[in-house]
Symmetry: C3
Amino acid sequence: MGADPRFFPSAGPRRLAEIAAAAEARFAGEAERIFTDVAPLALAGPEDVAFYEGRRHIAALKATRAGAVLLPAGTEGDLPAGTIALICAAPQLAYARVAALFHPRPRPVPGIHPTAVVGEGATIEEGCEIGPFAVIGARAEIGPGCIIGPHAVVGDGCVLGAGCILRSHASLLHCLAGVAVVLNEGARVGGEGYGFVTTPMGEHVTVPQIGRVILGDAVEIGVNACVDRGAGGDTVLGPGTRLDNLVQIGHNVKTGRGCVIVAQVGIAGSAELGDFVVVAAQAGVVGHITVGSKARVGAQAGVMNDVPPGTDVVGSPAWPARETMRAFARLRQLAAAPKKDGTSGGSP
Amino acid sequence: MGADPRFFPSAGPRRLAEIAAAAEARFAGEAERIFTDVAPLALAGPEDVAFYEGRRHIAALKATRAGAVLLPAGTEGDLPAGTIALICAAPQLAYARVAALFHPRPRPVPGIHPTAVVGEGATIEEGCEIGPFAVIGARAEIGPGCIIGPHAVVGDGCVLGAGCILRSHASLLHCLAGVAVVLNEGARVGGEGYGFVTTPMGEHVTVPQIGRVILGDAVEIGVNACVDRGAGGDTVLGPGTRLDNLVQIGHNVKTGRGCVIVAQVGIAGSAELGDFVVVAAQAGVVGHITVGSKARVGAQAGVMNDVPPGTDVVGSPAWPARETMRAFARLRQLAAAPKKDGTSGGSP
Amino acid sequence: MGADPRFFPSAGPRRLAEIAAAAEARFAGEAERIFTDVAPLALAGPEDVAFYEGRRHIAALKATRAGAVLLPAGTEGDLPAGTIALICAAPQLAYARVAALFHPRPRPVPGIHPTAVVGEGATIEEGCEIGPFAVIGARAEIGPGCIIGPHAVVGDGCVLGAGCILRSHASLLHCLAGVAVVLNEGARVGGEGYGFVTTPMGEHVTVPQIGRVILGDAVEIGVNACVDRGAGGDTVLGPGTRLDNLVQIGHNVKTGRGCVIVAQVGIAGSAELGDFVVVAAQAGVVGHITVGSKARVGAQAGVMNDVPPGTDVVGSPAWPARETMRAFARLRQLAAAPKKDGTSGGSP
């Protein structure tokens, strides 16, 4: 069974040869066989293409009713008879390409909904879809082929490149965005950062937040995630960076290319991340530090100091992963060890 | 003093006999006495019903001006003279029932606001209230007696059972919902999960997310909380499951009946929770693991491995609660102990 | 280079004498010199005023092209020749004042957008700006000079003092707000708290949440942050309290004056914070405890017990900061120490 056609009508059918080409997979015979959709191994039927994610799913592989399965060389022996092997180097990537054959990213249905409000001097290029109750600010520039969803708000003067998508209830303010940028539902870009100075009497005086947000090409922002604008100077997310849901990005944060910021992470003001940094769920990075390229921060970690490139850190406060694992093992031992007296721990 | 009538007008007045019946409470005399509202012990007056939450509130009980108090047998001796004892097994539950007499869940005021946008082929059954600027997608099916609040969005093809409530700014996409489902303000159901594959060159390729969200009867989703749809196959929240505010549920998560997921918790993709699991605030559960029925996860815990049914875990990474408490006690001792040399810890 | 005029047109130009007066700074000569904007040290040009944040930025100070710099006495020797020293006691506070000269908080553009929906009996005082698709509930009272942004919702009966701002997509329900209250984008005030009682059969029975939210003067609520209304009695945020983005405040929480609640913090139901409490990012405070005035809670801390006034706590569970630092140092030592046998830790 493929996707529910009420929500995800298939763009198919597709011939096996087309599928294999998209997947960069090799296969034997039946090039003209027709497939109608993709589906998980356990749910796929004879007209569906599935993929094999690895040994955790070996039972599902052996029992699948899929017509064809994307899998790595050497595992095709575990396929049921009659299921076609699509042998490829990276089955999950191949699946992404094949699934996109059947379910390409929705194209805009060009037009401006009669309820949308478009500000003075705004320019909306060809092929855009502007949804019900969308608000486009004065002098905003919307590139060709953008989708502005229901209730989405684009602030005065903002610039969107070609093919951007703002899903329902998203807002984008004080922002220059590249091409193919995606804001998911309720994502908030360009809010006022948490910037104030407290007087000796305890009054919090707001520091005007007069920087922008610069979003590189193909940046994606998760549902209800927040990216504050710069206090002075800009908040910058490098090309290809993806934020998951409920992430918080403080003012003047800068990331390089392709960073992966998982759900509920917080990156405090003026922190800088290199390229391809991964920050796992619920972790935090304090302000004004640097996390080097390809560093990885563990889930729930609390990063309080610079992290060198390529380093893995975990824990709160975060230490290099190896040392931390050793410390935890030791602590667990201590807790398990018999205790000889009441005043000190751990000694035999 | 009962609730502020500007916000919570009482549906009352009610006779004591009615109140006691709703509470399954016993009392002596005055069955016809009239009460107008419920109120906290400390604020209640002679026409209000209050309840006694336990010994933490004994001073408030002794000083209350409430006309009647819901309390367990054996505590009525602490009531001031003239306050009626409503003796019941579970005072808090009894209070919930009595408060609902005075403040029933708001009924829909049937009608479609003239500003609402209803898509082609959508069906809206009898008795629904559709608020200003609501957007109902094409072919959506809204069961009888639903309330779709201001600015709420129901996506194309979605199905809502009877008596569902979408509060203001909520969105529900790619979803089949049972009866009496509630989405609080800004709740986001059916967003695109965080699904992509990274090429060797560092490009993140989106995996089309073509699953749905299935919400069981009486599921409730907190304010600004997020539930991603399945990548392939469905994300499922079992009947009676309640999510608090700002919770994140990843793609293909499955929960059983009656789970309690407290504020700011994150459950990563494909994790499975049994029935009546409790996950306390700010905890995280990694993907692809199982948390057994009636397990309880402590606040801020980080669950990285399967949790057996009925087990309590705490800490990050999470351990069984007993072992963790012992380890922390030991660590605290170590910190307090005199240190004999600078190169190793803990030994006398 | 000052702020991008597409987003932040300068209200300037200003004479140096005016700037120095706002900053309470002293300077030598050139009182009539004209400045057009503020800018960071590294980006400022000869017509901009910058400020010096401290020794971390000494290189930027020495290299700045700014026309004038706000800095503390004794550091003016590091300025390049030709840059004017504006010597003041608190340069960051002075900067806030000067930046506000060029970028005052936007004034309302009075008027009610034709698409806005205003409920029966609502009163909107002079000078308010009501944006597109705003919804003002029945009997709501909006004080003079308020800005209600696009898609913002004010619930039935709510009261806003003078000069409040609800940014786009914010909602405010069951709430009495003082003057100059700010809700940032998507902020949600007055949602139903997580209040239910579970029957022995596992059914969750909602406790009607019939309290309000009381927001003191100058309270600010961050982007997508949530403040639940009281269950019975009120949730109260004291004057000047500021919540950062994605913060969660449970029902019946009470804070004093000027509290600082940083991003992604959660404060559980009925917790009470004194005046000027600081809770750093991602920390949690359990319900029904008290955090004394001027206490400070570290990032990611988990506060499970009362915190005395003026105390710093860190860690999860939270301990006083000093003890915790000692314990972590000890743990790190243990992890680093040579281990003599496999069954117990830490002893030489």
